[in-house]
């Protein structure tokens, strides 16, 4: 985990270092500031240091939580990101749960009856699901449920005035569409994977043994097949996290969810580099974190995998 975080930080920093542009560019064109002042400023902020030293300073600052100052929002980048992060995590988490809740039963059912009508329908829908770009599904859902039927709000509001149950109800109502868009996209890719992974397991000898011992079909599937078939699925869920973050950026943009994805886009459009770097770094860290969680889940699903 530590090496990959370091690797990510090197990639991000080298991008930043290779990028053209000088933070003191404006000063160069300003006749009121003499060149010596500019040179002194550059020296003070270490812009003339060798690359590895700048990387070291940057890394130390990032680790200490000093991520810079947002020019546009007039606040620390870390505060800004911490404000936005929970919404994104809730949306991503809910959509992953939805994806798994849809994909697991459908994939298992399809695999227990391969090439049946249900399998073919599920397969076709899965193809449609992951061929539909999230931004298009989002717009279509808005068109149907917000504009035609007027059931759901299409702008996510963080400042809901209602209290008690009404408060939660409003929150759920406005989260339905973003979560559905993201969850179905993920679920579609997962269905095919669950199916093939269950198909691999279901033909193994130990399943036949379990059946021949007279265990009911339902119990064979849930207790014996699914648990083993889940191991590769966990890998896929973890491997898909980078894509999920991409999807979250898009859905947050469409539904105006105030998460880190929409923060990233607005910071880019406003040329707010510290925020851009911070958000990219946070999403990279979260992806690594989810990979770690997947590794821990392996141990629980498959006791044969030991941690060194």
């Amino acid at each position: 985990m530590i090496p990959s975080l370091l690797g990510i930080s090197i990639v991000l920093f080298s991008l930043l270092a290779m990028a053209p542009g000088d933070p003191f560019e404006e000063l160069a064109t300003n006749p009121a500031i003499p060149p010596e002042v500019r040179a002194n400023l550059r020296a003070k902020f270490g812009l003339d240091d060798p690359v590895w030293m700048r990387y070291w300073h940057w890394l130390i600052a990032m680790m200490q939580g000093d991520w810079g100052f947002s020019f546009v929002s007039r606040m620390d980048v870390s505060t800004l990101i911490l404000q936005r992060l929970p919404v994104t995590l809730v949306v991503i988490g809910a959509s992953q749960i939805l994806a798994i809740a849809v994909a697991l039963p459908v994939g298992v059912l399809a695999a227990t009856r391969p090439y049946s009508l249900f399998d073919q329908i599920a397969n076709t829908f899965a193809f449609i699901g992951f061929s539909l770009p999230t931004f298009f599904t989002g717009l279509v859902l808005i068109l149907i449920f917000s504009i035609q039927l007027d059931w759901l709000p299409f702008v996510y509001r963080a400042d809901i005035s209602a209290t008690g149950w009404a408060f939660y109800w409003e929150h759920i109502k406005q989260s339905i569409m973003p979560v559905t868009v993201l969850g179905l996209f993920q679920g579609a890719a997962l269905v095919r994977f669950v199916r093939s992974s269950v198909l691999d397991v279901i033909r193994l000898d130990y399943v036949t043994t379990a059946r021949s011992k007279g265990i009911g079909e339902r119990k064979v599937i849930t207790k014996h097949v699914v648990r083993n078939a889940l191991i590769p699925v966990v890998t896929l869920v973890a491997l898909q996290m980078p894509i999920v973050f991409g999807g979250a950026v898009v859905t947050e943009q469409i539904f105006r969810v105030p998460g880190i994805g929409s923060l990233l886009i607005s910071a880019m459009l406003a040329n707010d580099t510290p925020v851009v770097m911070g958000v990219t770094f946070v999403s990279a860290c979260l992806v690594v974190l989810f990979n770690l969680i997947a590794d821990i889940l392996y141990g629980w699903l498959d006791p044969r995998i030991a941690f060194r």
Binding site: P133, I254, V288
Partner: protein, 275 residues
């Protein structure tokens, strides 16, 4: 299904390539008397908020989107095959290092990274290659540069098993150089699954390009691509739904067709997968 998709894809590609000849309407002719109109004989797919003809814009956008998809796929496959082949042939330390880099790229969040690269470099590339050409090169490079990993792992796995096969050993015994072993003997046998990945990569690249354009960070906003038309349309969803539905449906059908073709190719090229 693959055959049907092939026909659908051929229709779209043909329409996009020949479209400007058959439908010679300029993409940027502004006509405020005809703005936000639904489909009619004069404008088969309707018009946008400036009265520009959507059919002409979508034909032009399709050319860009499909060109980006194919070009980014080529970049991704070339990088992937190179990395995979080197890792598979070298083994040992080089292999471990290359695979570490591959895994690192796999765990980077793609879209934020794409956006970051474009955000940091768009101005300088624009200066060198012009507005449209710069955007094209940059987008193709970053999409290709973040999608080569699956091809690399695949090629490496293929190489690891193929290089121990008898026919390669025979070539080695006959004194074939390493390069010749790779180019003449191993690579052609490793290509089957790579073709499948390449097909699916086109679809993914088209989605990635549309996403970038949709977020307003792809091509400059006056160049219509499927994604940017959709972006312009999203604020007029209530009065002009056709404007958003046509480009969205085009992306969807193209990507779906390519995915089905990839699936068909997988069945055709990889007999082990057939249950």
């Amino acid at each position: 299904m693959a055959l049907f998709s092939g026909i659908a894809l051929a229709l779209i590609v043909g329409a996009v390539l020949l479209g400007p000849l058959l439908w010679p309407v300029p993409i940027n002719e502004i006509d405020f008397t005809a703005k936000l109109q639904g489909p009619s004989w004069k404008h088969p797919l309707g018009t946008d908020d400036l009265g520009q003809d959507l059919l002409a814009r979508l034909i032009y956008g399709g050319r860009i989107s499909i060109a980006v998809g194919v070009a980014a796929m080529i970049v991704a496959i070339v990088v992937g095959v190179l990395v995979g082949a080197i890792a598979g042939m070298a083994s040992g330390r080089v292999d471990a290092a290359l695979m570490w880099v591959t895994d690192l790229f796999l765990s980077l969040p793609q879209l934020p990274l794409l956006l970051l690269v474009i955000y940091l470099f768009r101005d300088s590339v624009k200066g060198v290659l012009g507005v449209e050409g710069g955007a094209f090169v940059l987008i193709v490079a970053v999409i290709g540069g973040t999608r080569w990993m699956s091809a690399a792992r695949l090629v490496r796995a293929q190489f690891l098993s193929l290089r121990e096969k008898e026919f390669v050993e025979a070539a080695r015994a006959l004194g074939a150089s390493r390069v010749r072993q790779v180019v003449q003997h191993i690579l052609p046998n490793a290509l089957g699954p790579v073709i499948v990945v390449a097909t699916i990569d086109i679809a993914a690249a088209i989605i990635a390009e549309s996403t970038l354009s949709f977020l307003g960070l792809g091509f400059p906003s006056d160049v219509p691509t499927w994604g940017s038309v959709l972006r312009d349309a999203k604020d007029y969803l209530d009065i002009a739904p056709h404007w958003a539905l046509f480009p969205g449906a085009l992306i969807f059908i193209t990507v779906l067709a390519i995915n089905f073709i990839g699936d068909g190719l997988r069945d055709a090229l990889d007999p082990r997968r057939v249950l």
